[in-house]
C-alpha cells in the first residue's frame, strides 16, 4: 500500500544550508552534500532542496549544486529555486532530480507548468506555493521572492488554475508557521485538499513527530515536510540532523 512521505526540506543560502523563521533570520545548519549523506544513512523517504537565493537574486538554478546532490542522493529529490524556463527544468531532470519545483515563474505564467510537463512528464512537475494568511476572513495570499513579494494572487484562485493545467505535486508552505515548530495549519491544508486531487505536501510548523502523525491521520496519504524538525534538536535548537527510524516510521505511516 502507498505510504505517506516524510520529507525533510533543506534550504540553500549562500551555498550552505540554513533554516529560517517566518522566512527570515536564517541560521546556518551545515553543508548540503554532507546533509544528504546523513539523510542517505537514515533512509529518508525523499528530500526537497530549495535554493532561496535564486529568485531574489534574479538568477537561474545552480546546476553544479544540483548535479552533486543528484549523484549523492540515494532517495528521490525535488529541486526548486530560480526555475523560469523549460530548458532549465529539462536540465534539472537530466541531472538526476526526480522532480522540479516551480514557484514565482509559475504564478506569473501558469502556462509554463504545461510546457514543462510536456517536456519532462507531468508527474515530475511540482508547484510550491508560499502562502500567508490575509486578515481574519481574507483567506490566503501567495507570496514569492522568499516571502518578500506579495503577488496579490489568492491561493484559492490559483488552485483552480493548477487544476486545469495538471501537475505532479503541490507543496503548500505556510510562511506564518515557518520555523516556529508549533504545529501545522490544518485549516489551510484542509482547504487545499478539498479543492485539489493531486499529491499534496504540507510544509511549515512541524515541531514534533506528533505533528507528523496527526497530519497522516488526517489526510491518510500525504507528503509531510518539515525543516526545523529534522535539523534541530531540543529547545535550544542545537543543530543535529535527525529523522525517525524504521520503527518510529512504521507507527507514523499507520498502515
Amino acid at each position: 500500500m502507498l505510504r505517506s512521505r516524510i520529507t525533510p526540506c533543506l534550504l540553500v543560502h549562500k551555498k550552505g544550508l540554513v533554516k529560517t523563521t517566518e522566512f527570515k533570520d536564517s541560521k546556518y545548519v551545515g553543508d548540503p552534500i554532507n546533509a544528504v549523506k546523513i539523510f542517505n544513512e537514515k533512509e529518508v523517504d525523499e528530500l526537497m532542496v530549495l535554493d532561496i537565493d535564486a529568485t531574489v537574486e534574479g538568477r537561474g538554478p545552480d546546476f553544479n549544486l544540483i548535479k552533486n546532490l543528484a549523484i549523492e542522493c540515494r532517495m528521490p529529490f525535488c529541486y526548486g529555486g530560480g526555475v523560469t524556463t523549460v530548458a532549465e527544468a529539462k536540465k534539472i531532470i537530466s541531472l538526476g532530480a526526480e522532480k522540479v519545483a516551480v514557484s514565482a515563474a509559475a504564478i506569473s505564467n501558469p502556462n509554463l507548468l504545461l510546457e514543462i510537463g510536456t517536456a519532462v512528464g507531468v508527474q515530475s512537475v511540482v508547484v510550491v506555493l508560499d502562502v500567508k494568511k490575509k486578515g481574519f476572513l481574507g483567506g490566503y495570499e501567495i507570496f514569492t521572492h522568499n516571502g518578500r513579494k506579495a503577488t496579490g494572487v489568492k491561493l484559492k484562485d490559483f488552485l483552480h488554475t493548477i487544476n486545469k493545467i495538471g501537475v505532479g505535486e503541490l507543496i503548500i508552505n505556510s510562511i506564518d508557521d515557518d520555523g516556529k515548530m508549533k504545529g501545522y495549519d490544518f485549516k489551510l491544508f484542509d482547504s487545499v485538499r478539498d479543492l485539489t486531487n493531486m499529491p499534496m505536501t504540507i510544509l511549515g510548523g512541524a515541531g514534533s513527530l506528533v505533528d507528523i502523525k496527526s497530519a497522516i491521520t488526517r489526510y491518510k496519504t500525504i507528503g509531510v515536510a518539515a525543516g526545523s524538525l529534522f535539523v534541530f534538536k531540543g529547545k535550544y535548537r542545537a543543530v543535529l540532523i535527525n529523522y525517525p527510524d524504521r520503527n518510529e516510521r512504521k507507527d507514523l505511516y499507520q498502515i
Binding site: 500500500m1 502507498l2 525523499e46 543528484a70 540515494r74 512528464g121 496519504t221
Partner: protein, 204 residues
C-alpha cells in the same frame, strides 16, 4: 560489465554511482557503437513516452539495441519510462515502442482510488512477487520501492508479470520476458532495496 545507455534521458549518474560503490564494472554508452557486444544493458528513462522513444531513435541507439536484445539475447533492464518503452505502444503517445515485451502502456485508473491523492502514483509502495526471479532475491517486499508515474505496463501475457503493486487496482510493477526486464519504480532512489536489485541485475 553493465552498459548504461546515455541517450539524454534518466538518472545515469545516480545509477553509475551505485555500481561504483558496489564495485561492479560499468560503462556509459554515448553512441550506438558503444553498445556493440555489450554483456548487459541498462535503459534508464524519464519523461513522456514519445519524447523518450524519439530520443532513442535520434541518437541511433535503437537499431543496435534491437540486434543486441532480440538476436544476441543480451539481458536488458528498463527503468520507469525506460520500462514503458519496452512495450508495443502507449496511451501517452502515438509512436510505437520497442516491442520487446508484448504489452500496452495505459493510464492508471483514477476511479479505482478511494481517497485523495489521485494521480500521479507518487511515493513508496510495496510489491508482491508473482514468480521467482533472481532480480528480486533478498528484497523486502513490504518496504518496497519509490514510484513516480501515471502510466503503467499492461502485459499481454500474464506470465510476463514479475511483481505487482496496488494503487487503486493491482498493476505490474516489474515485468520480464526472456532476457528483457522492466521495472516501473526507481531502484536508484530506493535505498537498500534498490541497491540490492541493481546488484542482483549485475549478478544475473
Amino acid at each position: 560489465m553493465i552498459t548504461i545507455i546515455d541517450y539524454g534521458s534518466g538518472n545515469i549518474s545516480a545509477i553509475a554511482n551505485i555500481y561504483e560503490k558496489l564495485n561492479v564494472k560499468y560503462k556509459i554508452a554515448k553512441t550506438a557503437e558503444d553498445v556493440v557486444g555489450a554483456k548487459k544493458l541498462f535503459l534508464p528513462g524519464v519523461g513522456a513516452f514519445d519524447e523518450t522513444i524519439s530520443k532513442l531513435d535520434d541518437t541511433g541507439f535503437r537499431k543496435v539495441l534491437d540486434f543486441e536484445v532480440l538476436t544476441n539475447k543480451t539481458p536488458i533492464i528498463g527503468i520507469c519510462v525506460g520500462m514503458q518503452i519496452l512495450a508495443e505502444r502507449s496511451d501517452e503517445g502515438t509512436l510505437p515502442g520497442l516491442g520487446y515485451i508484448k504489452g500496452h502502456v495505459k493510464k492508471l485508473d483514477e476511479k479505482s482510488l478511494k481517497q485523495k491523492p489521485y494521480l500521479p502514483h507518487l511515493g513508496w509502495n510495496s510489491i508482491e512477487q508473482k514468480k521467482n526471479c533472481q532480480l528480486f532475491e533478498e528484497i523486502d517486499n513490504e518496504i518496497g520501492f519509490y514510484f513516480l508515474h501515471t502510466y503503467y505496463f499492461q502485459c499481454e501475457d500474464n506470465a510476463d508479470v514479475l511483481t505487482t503493486t496496488i494503487y487503486g487496482e493491482s498493476f505490474a510493477s516489474a515485468v520480464n520476458h526472456d532476457n528483457v526486464y522492466g521495472i516501473q519504480f526507481h531502484p536508484e532512489k530506493s535505498h537498500q532495496n534498490g541497491i540490492k536489485l541493481l546488484h542482483n541485475f549485475a549478478l544475473l
